[in-house]
């Protein structure tokens, strides 16, 4: 007898729960939808949002902290020490710029948007903007180049740097020779590299 009751109870519960479900979905037919039709309507982007990286190169002192902390190595930075005759001026927070930056590339295809690079930046020149629409057809176009030097300048600087390092090397060789002439002091500081 119990199983007979159970049989009818099951049918009753099934029909009831289906009707409850249908009434809920029917009510939802007339509630306001939550869709945002993206290209035409946009949600406001909060100020904290982490999207496209931007480096204000005139403030960058080339301290390399962002490069070191980046977990995915998406920032590539080349630096050339300033020559005695150059004066690069000050960054906006007053620290002196001691390095030429012939290359400051950020590969946004690699970037994981963690924001770790912006935190240690001493002059706060590397920031994450709220720009998020930068799809490209070429993967190379996702490498954002921030240097303010033109190629000729860069070539000149590299040439100068090369000459300087050659001179340095020469000097080092000479000192090494002199050191070799004196017995006891062999090698000295070697392997600093260029």
């Amino acid at each position: 007898m119990q199983s007979v009751n159970q049989y009818f109870l099951n049918i009753y519960i099934a029909i009831k729960s289906v009707l409850i479900g249908m009434s809920i979905t029917f009510r939802h037919l007339f509630t306001k939808s939550v869709t945002v039709q993206y290209p035409r309507e946009r949600l406001p982007i909060p100020g904290t949002s982490r999207n496209l990286l931007l480096n204000k190169i005139e403030d960058c002192i080339g301290c390399d902290q962002c490069v070191r902390v980046c977990p995915v190595n998406c920032i590539t930075m080349d630096t050339i020490k300033v020559f005695p005759e150059d004066d690069l001026g000050l960054a906006s927070d007053g620290s002196k710029k001691r390095l030429w930056l012939p290359r400051f590339d950020i590969d946004m295809a690699k970037c994981c948007y963690c924001g770790l690079c912006t935190y240690p930046c001493p002059t706060e020149c590397l920031i994450m903007t709220d720009e998020y629409e930068y799809a490209t057809y070429e993967r190379n176009d996702l490498v954002f180049k921030f240097t303010d030097l033109d190629p000729i300048q860069i070539a000149e600087l590299k040439e100068k740097d090369h000459i300087r390092s050659m001179e340095k090397e020469k000097k080092k060789l000479e000192t090494a020779k002199q050191a070799a002439a004196k017995p006891g002091k062999n090698g000295g500081k070697s392997g600093e590299g260029t």
Binding site: V18, M22, I24, T25, H28, L29, T31, K32, S33, T35
Partner: protein, 353 residues
């Protein structure tokens, strides 16, 4: 077999066209049939275009979304765009499949969906062929979909397809029983197998429709027919043959482009068909609910009632989860079939006394 040609509106029109007088009557009949077939093909195609759009909109609004919005006003042309895309898509036939069966399967499935439309009494004089065994014809033809689906599943040489085909075959064959028994209820009440006669016997207000006039047996029969027909056309909650989360896409897994869209068209054609059958058998067909509204022509009523049932199909689909195979069979054999017998017995007593 063709008993009352006067009901065939297409034959009537062809008869009245003086231009075609030179044709012998047989040719006229064939011409009328071809025109009828073309008309119903387009009815299904256009209905599918509209119904898919409606389904997507209803689904969207139920889920607090908007659905298609981009092509045309609120996305009305979206289905058309999709259809064109499907038509110009590459026709992929994978290697290692039984090519002949693979090509034939969607044709058979769609053909059966189209063939049942012949006997629907859309209006008082609007029926392609008023067979005296109309309802038996429907039951017979709609079962032919099983070989089509099994062919699709077997020829794809894909385990998911095979699973889908086996499930579908088992499901459709089983649910033929409650469907047949529910139909018998209406046939007993009307005393005829002809669709037009069944509709005519429900004339005179909605209280004469079988769903209400033989209460509660008519209602039970209608309910059983509705639930079982959902299973016959593989709609949620009985969409096991194409259960996306279980067996990928069932027997349609290997199909793409135009062939796939034939299956899709057949699904919506079937939705329209079972809606029309339920309307004819239990909701009074083209009859007006109250005589006050009789100025509205029959075909409008027929379409409205059918569309309402189609809407309920869509509504259910976006509400319910899916049953498991054994529960599906439990429901068929242990719930629907006994209740169908009860309602047959009840209507039998009703008609006797």
């Amino acid at each position: 077999m063709i008993q009352a040609e006067y009901y065939n509106i297409f034959v009537k029109i062809i008869d009245q066209l003086a231009v075609l007088d030179f044709l012998p009557p047989v040719w006229k009949f064939i011409l009328a049939s071809v025109i009828a077939a073309l008309v119903f093909f387009h009815v299904i195609a256009i209905f599918a275009l509209v119904a898919i759009w409606v389904e997507r909109k209803v689904a969207g609004h139920i889920q607090d979304r908007l659905g298609p919005m981009e092509t045309g006003w609120h996305g009305v042309l979206q289905t058309l765009a999709d259809a064109i895309k499907l038509l110009i898509k590459e026709d992929i036939i994978a290697g290692g499949i039984d090519r002949r069966l693979f090509v034939l399967a969607p044709v058979i499935v769609f053909m059966t969906a189209l063939a049942v439309f012949v006997v629907f009494p859309v209006g008082e004089n609007f029926i392609v062929s008023d067979l005296n065994i109309g309802i038996l014809y429907i039951v017979a033809i709609s079962t032919l979909v099983v070989p089509g689906i099994i062919m699709a599943g077997w020829s794809s040489n894909n385990k998911w397809s095979l699973f889908g085909a086996m499930r579908s075959a088992a499901q459709i064959v089983s649910y033929e029983v409650p469907v047949g028994l529910a139909i018998v209820c209406a046939v007993m009440a009307a005393g005829s197998l002809s669709m037009q006669t069944i509709v005519e016997s429900q004339a005179g207000g909605f209280w004469n429709w079988f769903i209400f006039s033989k209460f509660p047996f008519g209602f039970i029969a209608f309910f059983i027919y509705f639930v079982a027909s959902l299973a016959e056309i593989n709609r949620t909650p009985f969409d096991l043959p194409e259960a996306e989360s279980e067996i990928v896409a069932g027997y349609m897994t290997e199909y793409s482009g135009m062939r796939w869209s034939f299956f899709f068209l057949a699904e919506y054609g079937n939705m329209l068909a079972v809606g029309a059958i339920a309307t004819t058998l239990f909701l009074g067909g083209w009859q007006t609910p109250i005589s006050l509204l009789s100025f509205i022509p029959g075909p409008v009523w027929f379409t409205a009632k059918t569309m309402f049932l189609v809407f309920v199909h869509i509504w259910l689909r976006w509400t319910l989860p899916r049953l498991r195979v054994d529960q599906l069979m439990y429901m068929c054999w242990k719930v629907l079939t006994p209740f169908a017998f009860v309602s047959i017995f009840g209507i039998g007593l009703w008609m006797t006394f």
